[in-house]
Subunit: 210 residues, 3 copies
């Protein structure tokens, strides 16, 4: 298959993922009755926070959203449109519909983040952590700013663990010497597939016994 | 007019702004009954947090408070003095009195932050965002640490939006080829003036309809 | 005495300190009923957050936990083991037992952080602040993520102040031209000793008068 098909597919999934992440921020901000500034800020944190933290930790510049600042406009316009057109009754169905693009975006961000860290010669565990940070830390920042315990830390659903598994798939594929695009595809696909399975079969993590 | 007059004026406004930001931190920390460590830390976050985040994102060193560490002493002394001499009855009037120097500081920080990002060849929207971050993120960190939703995100008053407007004024003036000091002055003045107008006429942002 | 004895002692104290910090994170996360992802994340933040923030501010790479990623494994294994074997009744005694290794770790992290900043020619106050950040900011991040006001800011016990004092001891010893290992030892020992004294004699910081 042609590499450029992959590149286009990647771009499309990336935008789909960013929109899903941004909408998760918009809805959480709306529930807290934030104003247009708060909704935009939380949407930006949710969509770009993870990748930005990864790049700060890895000391990489320019950031994704500096190179692609049209995506920043996209999120701001999305947040403003939400304030104008979204009502309380839309939150629930939007959130449910967004689970699927969110799973796609999570897989891609996780694979991309792990790959970037590996190419900077980080140890495997650190690279996998960078992939997880890319995939889940936007949501963590979203929740911290909205004064909630991060959902990914206490909803007892496998989300970060799917990213964890996907990251190790990339490390393994990389060590087997597979071409980069295959590594990325296998990693993103397994993280997303695991997440979809977890949603469909309602998997839960063990809880604390008292 | 002489440039050195501007420089002195800038320094004075900067110190005035930092004191206003620090006092906003002191008062919020005092309301939460933090101890001297907490009050100092929140005051430092409120006054230097925005500029520091901007510099981390832009990968600039040294930080403003490393080059001017006497300002750091100023904030620590201010916080300690507040613990010794401030009582509950002083919070409200101090907060009201600080609104005006705060508006001045906000304008200057916003103009300075946007200017720095522009001079590093950031795209216009990113530069304006950096200006906003410089002006408002100290307050965001102050509120997050004090376990509140950031006021700038949910008080439905134009604050960050004044910084947003002031940032675009700088971008425009810069594109018109005006000299740097004129750009800075126009930008800071319009952000501060907008903020003062918003306070005087009690402007509000639209809220969510249910 | 031989330097290598010091180096081994430092390594042992470092690991002891990291385990104590990680356990403080595990217990706080457990109280909030976080899942295995949350417990691991909070434990990692508590043990490595302070040093990482210091390195981001000083623009140093690689991070401590990138160079020693086996320590990262240690914390993850510790967090997972805690979920399997720890019960509610263990939290209180573990927390009490951990105060002592925590005091050791605090002293060492504070001395190390101040030393690193001094060797990068930071001004004395900034260097001392970096030492404090190394020693206490892991705990701040732990509490912010768990949606609490950082304990170090409002428990009115001397903790950060012990680090503050220990940092100035290092600055002083450095100015007196003492060898680096002596500086580190004096600084860490005085910070830890002060902390132990504060615990034994139940020292309290002054509170706000209303």
């Amino acid at each position: 298959m042609d590499v450029s098909v992959f590149t286009t597919a990647q771009l499309v999934i990336e935008i789909v993922g960013i929109v899903a992440f941004a909408l998760s921020g918009v809805i959480e901000a709306a529930r807290r009755r934030l104003d247009v500034v708060g909704v935009s800020a939380v949407a930006i944190l949710a969509s770009f926070g993870g990748g930005t933290l990864r790049d700060v930790l890895l000391d990489r510049r320019p950031f994704f959203w500096v190179e692609n600042h049209s995506l920043l406009w996209l999120v701001v316009v999305l947040a403003s449109a939400a304030i104008l057109f979204m009502r309380g009754k839309h939150f629930e169905p939007t959130e449910r519909a967004m689970q699927w693009p969110d799973a796609l975006g999570m897989g891609l961000f996780c694979a991309g983040g792990t790959q970037i860290a590996l190419s900077m010669e980080m140890p495997a565990l650190v690279a996998v952590m960078m992939g997880m940070i890319t995939a889940v830390f936007g949501g963590v920042l979203r929740d911290v700013v909205c004064n909630e315990i991060p959902r990914v830390f206490n909803d007892h659903r496998p989300y970060a663990l799917c990213a964890f598994a996907g990251g190790w798939v990339l490390v393994l594929a990389h060590h087997l010497g597979l071409p980069q695009w295959t590594c990325l595809f296998l990693s993103a696909a397994s993280a997303s597939a695991l997440r979809v399975l977890a949603m469909v079969f309602d998997w839960k993590l063990p809880t604390w016994r008292t």
